[in-house]
Symmetry: C2
């Protein structure tokens, strides 16, 4: 953890109280002048740090910026996810960066954020609109020992983690639509894209991309997404702290990933099922030119969707487009 | 096709005959001086081109080099495989190069050869010894529209193509061992490595890597491979032209790839089955800590191996280590 992150941690721990320069200097093993210089740097980043001559420093406000060291410090308890974090002002897609890092042999757990993506992507070559500073656009590098066909487990785990993080913060009617969307009353709030590099029988690495609409207003979305996409701000009327959400999501994701690598995917599915808007629902699934009508029954051990068709047999669905029909 | 390749094609077409400089000049639309300069260049590469003052040029011998333009010219009839070819003197792994090209959006069909690989690789993180000039080490970029679970089809197709190319040139007892090896009496002659980049339900690109031992002698192999690996030279006592083999293999691979993208994988399997040393054989398969004993029965529509276990049920195998047991 670097000095910035340590200072922020000490100030956060003090809450409404103050921490003196002398105290910080001693705790961190750097000079009071150095402390002062770091405080100035943090102020330039937008951290509102009050300094009173006798009492010391107090954290009055945190800017809505993603500060890699600060995020890492706040995720110290995580086992894998967020052990390393990089924040870019702009990139094509955070998944492109993770892909490159993976080939350089970077260990799993690194998370790459971008304030803006110029080529954010969704499933099947679709784009994901990622305007600067209004959402969370990030990708996580993972190296689970699994077969390619089980990679869907990660999408399920990520959806569960994000939903849990959101539910603990708001009472919106959030639901997971298999395989990769989180909706509020039918409108897309979060998209998850799992990509992998694999041999035929084993995953080399896996890139979990998450796009979450947070502080956009209707006008921030292109017209063709009106009515289809939404943001936390649009649903709640409030501005949200992206860094707080990032920390919450990455904590939950670490928990879910741990479940998967310990062979406890069934626990993930159990929780997923409670948040799903797909299970128990009549669905039409478009796979290539084929249409499958039926009722979504459950997930199998790989995270594939099991659909009971009109004709009574069970179809295992690993992709395609799911349309929720009226009950 | 560039001028070098066109000259070589004209000389090859003349067989034992000659082609005059005037004729080449007219055919290719370049000056006789330019023809002469290109002939000199080709000679420097090792092409043995005889020039007689009155008769013209004759191709007496071809060096064992991989000349990208010449290879491309000889593969003109191919639909996809070999539409573009790159030859490196040395690279880490030709699959690394293909991986990079794929991310740059290069169309499918490009083949990357290296005279030597410093980090040639096999399945499950193993290495593949690729000494300079003694074998064929190449990778093909493909972009089939298929699900990740069907990617095994490409390994099956490649093994079939390589075997057919070899069988038309020698009478060695060549056999395919599922999933990815071509053996001569139990010793490895060719290895195939299929790697992919994919979303959960669709392959983005696929890299088909082939390593073929050709002109090595026993001493060219590290001691730990003695008795396990072999080369065409060791089996036949002759030196082989690598470029002729490359052309033959890439022609057959183009045919097999066409079968796959046209939905005729069953034809590939039919031919594969005739060359297989695995089918009908008692096998032990090691998958992680699990051992499966049984008899290899057939391949399914994805190229997975179906094994009838001792207990009578059919197991679908997509990876692991196959050990052929004595009948």
């Amino acid at each position: 953890m670097n000095t910035d992150a340590k200072i922020l941690r000490a100030l956060r721990a003090a809450g409404e109280g103050t921490v003196s320069g002398a105290e910080l200097s001693q705790k961190l093993g750097v000079s009071r002048a150095a402390i002062w210089a770091h405080i100035e740097e943090l102020r330039e980043l937008g951290y509102d740090i009050e300094a009173s001559p006798h009492l010391g420093y107090r954290l009055r406000g945190v800017p809505d910026v993603l500060h890699a060291d600060d995020l890492m410090a706040r995720l110290e308890g995580n086992r894998i996810v967020g052990r390393d974090i990089k924040v870019f002002q702009e990139t094509t897609s955070t998944s492109d960066v993770v892909d490159k890092l993976s080939r350089d042999g970077v260990p799993e757990g690194i998370v790459v954020f971008a304030e803006a993506q110029t080529k954010g992507r969704g499933r099947m070559g679709r784009s994901w609109v990622s305007p600067s500073g209004l959402g969370l656009w990030f990708s996580v590098l993972l190296r689970p020992r699994m077969r390619p066909q089980s990679a869907m487990q990660l999408t399920v785990a990520a959806a569960t983690a994000v939903t849990r993080a959101l539910r603990s913060r708001c009472s919106l009617p959030i639901g997971i639509k298999w395989p990769n969307d989180i909706l509020v009353q039918g409108r897309k709030l979060v998209g998850i894209l799992t990509e992998m590099s694999a041999e035929l029988d084993s995953v080399r690495h896996l890139c979990l991309g998450v796009g979450m609409n947070i502080n956009q207003e209707q006008r921030d979305f292109p017209r063709e997404l009106h009515g289809l996409a939404t943001s936390l701000r649009m649903e709640t009327g409030e501005m949200w702290s992206r860094s707080d959400l990032a920390v919450a999501i990455l904590k939950e994701l670490d928990v879910e990933y741990d479940r998967i690598i310990c062979g406890r995917f069934s626990e993930v599915v159990e929780e997923w099922a409670r948040q799903s808007v797909t299970l128990g629902h009549p669905v039409t699934i478009l796979v290539g030119n084929r249409k499958i009508h039926g009722r979504a029954e459950s997930l199998d051990v790989d995270g594939a969707l099991l659909v009971r068709t009109q004709h009574g047999h069970l179809e295992r669905i690993v992709g395609g487009e799911v349309v929720l029909e009226k009950k």
